[in-house]
């Protein structure tokens, strides 16, 4: 018998895969961006399903609300048109599909064999998981955390320097 959770999982997974596929098939960047947003939202749903509420929220706020908005913004700014289907790279044209499939297959097979024994993700209480997260973030991973802030600062400066018109 299929539990409701499983149904939700399959729905979300189907949405995610659909989004990923349409990201490839769509010829217009903005449609690709929309499909990617779909993927992200469904992934956020999966996180909620697993009981990682905080990650889910951050996923939507940062990815959906900031990063992808930036993408769409840039697409609009550059007024990107429909992608032109040039095929200068024979290698990519003929070798692309099998290689990508091979890579995915390897990963999938390895994971399938290695993670069979794991228990299903248990949804621990949201606040508890969030609290645990913050504890780790400020105790064990405090230096990486601070370094990330520094990285972001550098990224901001770099973006400003890159994007400003030289005059």
């Amino acid at each position: 018998m299929i539990s409701g959770v499983l149904v939700i999982f399959f729905v979300l997974a189907a949405l995610a895969v659909f989004g990923a596929v349409s990201l490839i098939l769509q010829s217009h960047p903005i449609h690709s961006a929309l499909s990617l947003i779909l993927v992200m939202v469904s992934l956020a749903g999966l996180y909620l399903l697993m009981g990682a509420e905080f990650i889910a929220a951050v996923q939507i706020i940062v990815y959906g609300g900031a990063v992808m908005v930036l993408f769409t913004f840039v697409i609009m700014l550059l007024n990107a048109g429909v992608e032109e289907r040039t095929n200068f790279s024979k290698l990519a044209t003929f070798g692309g599909v099998p290689l990508a499939l091979a890579l995915g297959g390897i990963i999938a097979a390895a994971i399938w064999r290695s993670s069979g024994h794991l228990p299903p993700p248990a949804a621990s209480g949201a606040m508890s998981s969030t609290r645990e997260l913050s504890m780790l973030l400020f105790s064990t991973f405090v230096y990486p955390f601070e370094l990330t802030s520094f990285l972001i600062l550098v990224a901001i400066l770099g973006a400003i320097v890159l994007a400003q018109r030289e005059n």
């Binding site: 490839i24 940062v62 992608e83 993670s115 991973f141 890159l162």
Partner: protein, 100 residues
């Protein structure tokens, strides 16, 4: 409950699709999106494992990945804007100063 395997296989599939997009799209911005897609796939695996093992470390890493992705998006899009400005094209196959 959903077995961890399902999540992980899903992430593997998404990752493969991301690689496919990475190889197949010609538009720089779309290729960049493909990279983001791969990152998301990895995040999914992270969260699944960390929830399965009952440790939050994986989620911490997801946070880091997201932060880094944000920074990367800022810089990368800046670069893309410059490229588009200079070569009047977003097709990577026209960005081939290195060719023989």
């Amino acid at each position: 409950m959903v077995p961890t395997n399902y999540y992980v296989i899903l992430s593997a599939i998404l990752f493969g699709l991301g690689v496919l997009a990475f190889v197949f799209k010609r538009n720089i911005i779309t290729i960049f999106m493909a990279i983001e897609l791969m990152l998301n796939a990895v995040n999914l695996a992270f969260v699944a494992f960390s929830q399965a093992l009952g440790k939050a470390d994986g989620e911490v890493f997801v946070l880091f990945v997201i932060l880094v992705a944000a920074a990367e998006a800022a810089v990368g899009l800046g670069i893309i804007i410059l490229t588009a400005r200079n070569r009047r094209s977003l097709n990577v196959e026209n960005v081939n100063l290195l060719k023989l």
